[in-house]
């Protein structure tokens, strides 16, 4: 493991030099870290190894999503290769896109032209996935979207639809499950806040649509740039609009700054969060201000598969790497879905792999409530079954499971 880390670090140092150079040339840098044992030439995939690509933010503001995802993939690859379940070795090729759509599209081109991958795993940010998906599917390669949640990523009208699959529940699924807290509490003035990224804005749209369908009105909304330095105006806007509950649909660090400001002005308001609050950065920056917040998760601590995964993950990467485990668990399951489909397609990529994925079910997934499953069917490229969602909260500055007995429904 130390060797792996060293190698990764060395490669990353090289990548840094590249990045500095590339930034000036104005082209998109692509830092790669190949897992150990990769063929040095990186050219044609040998008949013994199956190359799978991952494009996600390994540096930059979204790395606290992208790196746990990478670790989830690595752990799954390690487990599958060690088990001998496949008669070939899987090799993971990761390329950093810094959550930048332009760099993500360039990374996709590189996956196709140079890395010779059979499938590409999509990263956690919806904007970059929207940008890289046409490049990947345009080249006839399957994309499995692991964590990115925007509804529009799976669109039957898009030309790449046949080759695109989404493992995670999408924004509408999330919001549809979370709305029960708002329905139960009978709030008079519900408000929402989100960042201006694809995740935030498509989340805001999902909130407005789903709430309207359930007869609830979203009275006021506020937006902010991602990585904001101060959210006082947004907090005061919502306070002065008379909100008695807030749906906080921002990434972890901004959500933390938001909650700190709510606490600072001594505003007593109920806040329910989006799934991005599972980020370690939220916990670290919010401190006590995060206590009591409820948000959706995919981890059910009563499920043996989840317990085993958490134990293995913490042993390998430490407890602070992905303390809520949501992102790494989805990544882990994605590799198992892909491995099952590869086995079924006879290690054939393209449409054959897509056809195999369309018949793949993961009953013993790590993610999801006990009794739920991840499965694709012909014409349905969204994996989570009904009752997939769990809810977590923060107690005394630590992530804690809140409810794993609430219903949730596929949109």
């Amino acid at each position: 493991m130390n060797n792996t880390r060293m190698l990764r670090r060395t490669m990353a140092v090289g990548a840094v030099a590249l990045m500095a150079g590339a930034a000036f040339a104005g082209c998109a840098p692509a830092s790669s870290n190949t897992s150990p044992g990769a063929p040095a030439d990186g050219g044609e995939g040998s008949s013994e190894t199956i190359r799978i690509g991952y494009i996600g933010p390994l540096t930059g503001g979204s790395a606290s999503l992208g790196v746990p995802a990478q670790h989830g993939f690595e752990l799954a690859v390690e487990h599958i290769n060690a088990s001998g379940a496949l008669d070939r070795e899987i090799e993971l090729i990761s390329v950093d896109d810094e959550a930048d759509p332009t760099k993500s599209a360039a990374a996709a081109q590189r996956m196709i032209d140079e890395e010779n991958v059979i499938a590409v795993l999509g990263g956690p940010n919806s904007g970059p996935v929207l940008a890289n998906n046409p490049v990947i599917t345009g080249a006839g390669i399957v994309q499995l979207i692991t964590i990115a949640q925007a509804d529009g990523l799976i669109d039957p009208a898009s030309p790449g639809y046949d080759l695109t699959f989404q493992v995670t529940e999408n924004n509408t699924y999330n919001v549809g499950a979370t709305i029960q807290f708002f329905l139960e509490a009978d709030y008079s003035t519900i408000c929402a806040v989100a960042d201006t990224t694809e995740y935030g804005q498509s989340g805001l749209t999902a909130i407005q649509t789903v709430f309207a369908e359930n007869g609830l009105e979203v009275s006021a909304t506020a937006s902010h740039e991602v990585n904001a330095t101060d959210l006082t105006p947004q907090v005061l806007t919502l306070r002065d609009a008379g909100c008695d509950s807030i749906y906080l649909y921002s990434y972890g660090q901004d959500a933390a700054v938001f909650m700190k400001t709510v606490n600072q002005i001594g505003w007593d308001v109920d806040v329910i969060g989006g799934r991005a609050l599972n980020q370690a950065a939220f916990l670290s920056i919010a401190g006590e201000a995060g206590d009591g917040l409820i948000f959706p998760s995919v981890i059910d601590l009563d499920k043996p598969e989840a317990q085993e995964f958490i134990e293995a993950y913490n042993a390998e990467y430490g407890e602070d790497d992905d303390p809520a485990h949501t992102f790494s668990a989805l990544a882990y399951d994605s590799i198992f879905l892909l491995a099952a489909a590869l086995d079924a397609s006879g290690y054939e990529g393209g449409q054959a792999l897509a056809d195999a994925l369309s018949e793949t079910t993961l009953d013993n997934a790590v993610a999801g409530r006990s009794g739920s499953s991840l499965s694709f069917t012909e014409g349905d490229h969204r994996a989570p079954s009904d009752n997939f969602q769990t809810f977590w909260t923060i107690e005394n500055g630590q992530f804690a499971m809140y409810r794993n007995d609430l219903p949730s429904k596929r949109p």
Binding site: R9, A12, V13, V16, M19, A20, A23, F24, L58, T59, G60, G61, A63, S64, V67, T196, A222, S223, H224, E225, N227, T229, D230, T232, P233, Q234, L236, T237, D240, G252, Q253, A256, V257, K260, Q264, I265, G266, Q279, A280, A281, L283, S284, I285, A286, G287
Partner: protein, 291 residues
Amino acid sequence: MSTFLQLAVSGVALGSIYGLIALGFLVIYHATGLVNFAQGQLLMVGAMATYLLLMQVGLGYPLTIAGVIVVALLLALLFRYGLHRPMVSRGAPTTNMVVATIAFGLVLTAAAELFIGNTKYGVDPVFPGAPLVVGSVSIQTQSLLIVVVAWALVGAIWFFFTKTLTGVSLRAVGLNRTAAAVSGVRVSRLITIAFVISVTVTVIGGMLVAPLIGAGPEMGLAIAVKGFAAAVIGGMSSVYRGMVAGVAIGLIEMLSSYYISSAYAPVIAYAILFLALVLMPARVRQSGAHA
């Protein structure tokens, strides 16, 4: 009224940080004519070093402050002797040096990502506990500290530039290096002092802001852009004008996000910079360098 005052409190605190960045820009610009675009990353180093020493090593604030100042000194010397002086001695044009500062900043970001981590980390405030409540306005003690320290630094630097021999000599170097050297001023040593002041002020800005927004490798750019705007609006000439401009930008940012639209807040900041760049250069030339 309470909303307005609450926004104003945030604006002044945030703006004081922009002012510190402006101060960092100005001190090096005065002494060398160089615009240092690594300023944002220097602020980031201050925040990350604070996180590392305070939260990871657990040193407590007195030792952390000392440690962060040491980091600032080392960084200033690295900047001066590893980048600036070699380039000057080879006769590199200023544009090359400006690009070199951008590269220096990128390297600092990458180094922070590699050796500390690439997410955002929470940092404890200097004085933990409930915010101060004055009437209907609540103020985080950290925000108050930012304002006090920032203005104290401006005062100290103003004093240095106008009342001490070294400071006056440094201004002479900025105005006419050859004449200063002929008059017996030790130019190289003074430029090193300018680097130390600039880097230290900026790093302290990072240490101050970290408890409010966390510390992360990518945090510098957004703040630096506004600090640069403050420096330009301040005429690239005066330490306190840069500070006043920083506070003005902070206030405009907060008030416009509330009263106009929160979605346009970043655009407004960039628009201010754009206008400043278009309208200000004439004034910079007119006023020349003075403290």
